[in-house]
């Protein structure tokens, strides 16, 4: 009998939302358990087995010296390493510290900051170890996650497009909120969410990070023409994917 590939799911600095997307695959969980051996998934099971693992899904960013070491060990134990979510691929919302002094944040958040050991920055997994595939989103889309796992099992390339949200939006038949007067990050953001927010008549928040050829400067110019203040343009780019280079640079080009 063919041994099943061993799956591990890891958490770094994150909210657990992307791991929950995996648990949210209710209809598919049994087939997943049939196709792989879930060897390590602390969020779901206390049975934690040692490596090596065939596929590691990594959630979260690196914000402590301990985690910077731990990700190296995960990499050593994993044949394939796939990051899941905005934290693991771009540093997450916690990468806002990268634009400020982390000690100022600590003083505001914690009553006794002296017990906190943290790095000055929040960085994506790929800044520390080689990553085989990055799945975007805040949180990830469970359909895309299943596609990545199924592709891994079949030894094929996952069908995860890198074009703009606009293509998904138009396929859905949504009206373009931007053309109707609502600033939207969709034209510079990677598809994957199914154009969730424009489908609810809201502008895109950029949860899936920069698309393949993001012309953020032109989009920002258009937002500005629509009356959006410089500070708000900066904040729109500096959110869940603030440390993704295209969004980082565009945000920095606008005064706070």
């Amino acid at each position: 009998m063919r041994t099943k590939p061993r799956l591990a799911v890891w958490k770094f600095a994150s909210c657990d939302g992307c791991q929950l997307s995996l648990l949210d695959c209710e209809d598919e969980l049994l087939s997943l358990a049939g196709a792989v051996e879930i060897a390590y998934f602390a969020e779901a099971s206390s049975a934690m087995e040692d490596g090596p693992y065939d596929l590691s899904l990594v959630e979260g960013s690196v914000t402590t010296a301990h985690d910077a070491e731990r990700i190296r060990e995960v990499r050593r134990q994993s044949k394939l390493l796939v990051t899941i979510g905005a934290c693991a691929t771009a540093g997450g919302i916690q990468a806002l510290r990268n634009f400020a002094d982390v000690n100022d944040y600590l003083a505001v958040v914690y009553a006794s900051p002296r017990y906190i050991e943290t790095l000055a920055t929040s960085t994506p997994i790929a800044a520390h170890v080689p990553v085989d595939f990055e799945l975007r989103g805040c949180p990830i889309n469970k359909v895309q996650l299943l596609e990545v796992i199924a592709a891994f099992l079949a030894g094929r390339k996952p069908a995860i497009p890198t074009y703009s949200v606009c293509i998904e939006c138009k396929r859905r038949g949504n009206l373009c909120v931007m053309v109707q007067g609502t600033p939207c990050l969709g034209p510079v953001t990677q598809a994957g969410c199914g154009a969730l927010c424009p489908g609810c008549r809201r502008g895109c928040y950029g949860c899936y990070g920069p698309m393949e050829t993001p012309d953020t400067a032109m989009l920002a110019r258009q937002w500005s023409a629509m009356g959006v203040a410089s500070r708000d343009i900066r904040r729109a780019f500096h959110s869940f994917n603030a440390w993704a280079p295209a969004f980082r640079e565009e945000g920095e080009a606008h005064d706070d």
Binding site: A150, P161, Y163, K170, P187, E212, M218
Partner: protein, 382 residues
């Protein structure tokens, strides 16, 4: 559709239009027409005249669309709607086939669903031409799309001679409107003034004639026809813009290095909205998905765009790496090389690519800019 002399014409009032919609539904058609949704006028299923956007219009400009009230109760007093009939005839996402592992090998099955028989109410002149162009793409002998052809053959088309032109309309210069010409079953012209609200109906097929015969109507008089002609003439005089087509193919094909391509590339987001809303853009991509058990798989066809990197990806990378290369490809194909491929322009002058470009890039302005200074050489190849 059998050609009939267009002399056959009648006049319907609002009740007659209601009877037309009901008669189509009674014949098993899913009747689709304009409705107000999400602060816009879009095509969707309708069950009667009450669903139509009475008293609504749109104000369109490059990168801008607003729904507004009209002073009258016109039912068709608006310009091109955000997405054309393309999404009914050429659906954005379609599973083509499924395969599963059987005892004796792989078992394939078609997954194309039987589409309803559509009746389209209010197919504008430009969109009628666009359907004819997609017919040439999908119903060609050497690469036939059976599902498209079936949907198309089953469709009943009630065309519309436009009574309103938008700021981004330019069908007159493309020779595609505002009078509906081509394959329709019936064609409406809305006749609305202080004394009446009626619809001149022209017959374009035997099916149209048969349907019309069962509706409460009166025979069209010469003044009715004259009134309809003046509606079309007034609309033709209100085009928001125009595109000079004389020598356009040669102009674009001989200016691949014009500096204007660099200039437009500065503004182009490569977001692909123009290609999605274009009623003639037909490109698709295929995605193959296998399931977790490895026991089944499916092939899905999705609308694609020449503005993505994947579109021109061949071994080693994308052929068109720059926005310049992609915008030039799209516009040159649409306005020039389309003639070589399909015997006509790929543009029908509906203006959707202008209105629905988030940054308002205007294809008529781009063509005019190249025409203004032809044969200037620009920078590197895109």
């Amino acid at each position: 559709m059998d050609a009939l002399p267009t002399a056959t014409a009648a006049v319907l009032d609002r009740d007659g239009l209601q009877a037309l919609i009901e008669a189509l539904a009674a014949r098993g058609f899913r009747v689709c027409g304009p409705v107000v949704r999400d602060a816009a006028i879009v095509y969707d299923e309708i069950s009667g005249v009450a669903d139509l956007p009475a008293g609504w219009t749109d104000r369109q400009a490059p990168g801008r669309y607003r729904l507004e009230r009209r002073a009258d109760q016109a039912l068709f007093g608006f310009a091109a709607v955000p997405q054309a009939w393309k999404r009914f005839l050429h659906p954005p996402v379609e599973t083509l086939w499924r395969v599963r592992q059987g005892e004796d090998g792989m078992l394939f099955s078609s997954a194309v669903e039987t589409a309803p028989r559509y009746a389209f109410l209010g197919v504008r002149a430009c969109d009628l031409r666009a359907i004819a162009i997609q017919d040439r793409v999908f119903c060609a002998d050497d690469c036939r799309d059976d599902a498209y052809e079936r949907r198309r053959r089953d469709a009943f088309i009630v065309a519309l001679n436009c009574s309103e032109a938008g700021d981004t309309c330019f069908c007159v210069s493309m020779g595609t409107g505002p009078r509906a010409e081509g394959a329709f079953d019936l064609a409406l012209t809305e006749l609305l003034d202080a004394s009446r609200h009626e619809f001149l109906v022209e017959v374009g097929s035997a099916a149209g004639e048969e349907l019309l015969a069962g509706l409460p109507r009166r025979t069209a008089t010469e003044p009715d026809r004259a009134a309809a002609a003046s509606v079309v003439a007034r609309t033709a005089g209100r085009m928001g813009r125009s595109l000079e087509t004389a020598g356009l193919q040669e102009l674009l094909e001989s200016n691949p290095e014009h500096p204007r391509w660099d200039e437009v590339a500065e503004r182009c987001l490569a977001c692909a909205n123009c290609t999605m809303v274009c009623p003639t853009c037909f490109c698709t991509t295929l995605e193959d998905h296998s399931d977790l058990s490895g026991g089944s798989a499916e092939r899905v066809r999705l609308w694609d765009s020449c503005f993505t990197l994947d579109f021109s990806y061949i071994h080693g990378g994308s052929v068109r790496q720059t926005d310049k290369g992609r915008y030039r490809q799209w516009m040159t194909h649409k306005l020039a090389t389309w003639f070589d491929q399909f015997g006509s322009s790929g543009c029908v002058g509906c203006g959707r690519c202008i209105t629905w470009c988030p940054v308002g890039i205007d294809i008529t302005e781009e063509a005019a800019a190249i025409r203004a200074t032809p044969h200037i050489q620009g920078g590197d190849h895109g």
